[in-house]
Symmetry: C2
Subunit: 343 residues, 2 copies
Amino acid sequence: MSELRKDVISGRWVIIASERSKRPDDFRPAAARSTADGATAFCPFCAGSEAKTPPEVFALRSPGTQPDTPGWRVRVVPNKFPALERGQPPPPHPNVLFPRLPGVGVHEVVIENPDHELELADLPVKHLRDVLCVYQDRTRSIEEDLHYQYVQIFKNKGKEAGASLSHPHSQIIATPVVPKRVKEKVYGAERAFRTFKGCFYCRTLEEETGERLIFQNSAFRVIAPFASRFPFEAALFPVRHSPFFTDVTGRELEDLAAALKTTLLKLKGVLSDPPYNLVLHQAPHPALSNKTWPELGRSFHWHFELFPILTRIAGFEWGTGFFINPVPPETAAGFLRDASRTT
Amino acid sequence: MSELRKDVISGRWVIIASERSKRPDDFRPAAARSTADGATAFCPFCAGSEAKTPPEVFALRSPGTQPDTPGWRVRVVPNKFPALERGQPPPPHPNVLFPRLPGVGVHEVVIENPDHELELADLPVKHLRDVLCVYQDRTRSIEEDLHYQYVQIFKNKGKEAGASLSHPHSQIIATPVVPKRVKEKVYGAERAFRTFKGCFYCRTLEEETGERLIFQNSAFRVIAPFASRFPFEAALFPVRHSPFFTDVTGRELEDLAAALKTTLLKLKGVLSDPPYNLVLHQAPHPALSNKTWPELGRSFHWHFELFPILTRIAGFEWGTGFFINPVPPETAAGFLRDASRTT
């Protein structure tokens, strides 16, 4: 099992992932190339290879088909090389120079569709809606255990974005502590609520109807954030205030799928199918939110962040937390707004 | 001039760098390749090309040689495409949804030596000491203007680490606000001082004499941090407590150069000359430190962070601020400790 370690000064956690342990030679460019996922290599996520993954924990499948056989539309399996594993809940970490916890948590893979070549952007809206519905179902299921305090859902598309397998998939990692970045958002949102006498995100959406607007439909709005870190960064917000992604209704889910698909297609068209990260920002476990942050309900507003990987993080960013973005979000939004969906 | 923008929720700043403004086509792989810095391309940082850079602001040069001509050992010039530029100090930013400031600051390049092929690790200790001495001199000089609240010194080696020119160089960016990450360190260090009844870094150095120790000499210690984010991450600390890098004495600078050279050579040997980032963490402007953080002197302890670029930041990291590190720092320290210097 891996180990969680905390940097006392910054409050940042790291996972020392023993299951993935590597030697210096594994990082040589030649080694990296030979283990990379080629087009002709065997893929454990394709239909027919179900036996090559750990047994599925959930699937949307055709009536009458058996688990771990073909017939599924969306399939969820435990990660074969998990960063965190289900187990005894860790004790609270003590006030020591070197705080560590057992690497307890959940690490699952959402195989978005059986076809290796069909990317998230290419799925029919109905199928994309199913993927989002699975995100909700897995969040609810994992949150049945209160020890998993935060459920992080994300997608890495392309090697440059951190993907190690090319078959379209998302990942879910649930952590036994509330991550630093999530706390930062929760505290920051409440502080901003008090400053602006209302939800900061709702206020922002009221303003963002112009030069930074990328796309909108009746329930969702996609904008280029004012302080975008990356060229062509996008954020997708529900217009209806809610801290919990699991609160999105079936009807809204259809609009969300449409907004996400449109944005992904616009990015794909404008930037020639770039690698990207898609990151869901939802509230911590509802029980914990109510207990520890009773005001979170009014001030936090769930959303997706989406950014193509076009630039590098360098020393200045690591030192300061500043980002240098060579494309003003107004310019990026203009290109994306004007791009028509390509399919 | 570029623009500084603040994300209200997280307190993070970004620089929207109009001088480097790009269109979508600039990010296509082919375009990126054709503008990359090839071995045979013209280099503005080599000896003899002094006229191709903005006029030097500082240089260590042989007696009798003229500015902006050959004869220098270390040369500092303004960045030709600056992220920030000297100018009127910005007004304090108001409490609005979208805080912005003019991109006022300093952006300089430290050309570490006239020879294109001679990397920082390859310089004689005496020359490396000169480079570090220039870091000190530039910090002092920039801090003569109180409006530049933080001086960030860093080096990106290799394209993967964010370097756009291959001639060995470091960069200095001074910002008109104290960056989020620096505040986080300053506050975190003071909090840890109170918890542990002493400087957290000094206490850590007392403990780190074993499995995570990479190298030490009389005045400096290099360790693999307990909560390393990256494989083979290293941190270089002065044994003598001090928040200010500019306090390092001439005598200590020699030891620092030796410790840095040894560490760079070990990394180069163990990992086949990897791309890396070197980041100096120093205190904010001394006047500001005294005024705003009167206790900073006891709790902050300057240091370098050094990490090779071997893995990718992906969706999980962006969402949570967690990092997944596949090499335990004890393992990394073992490889680095045992590696002999290769020259």
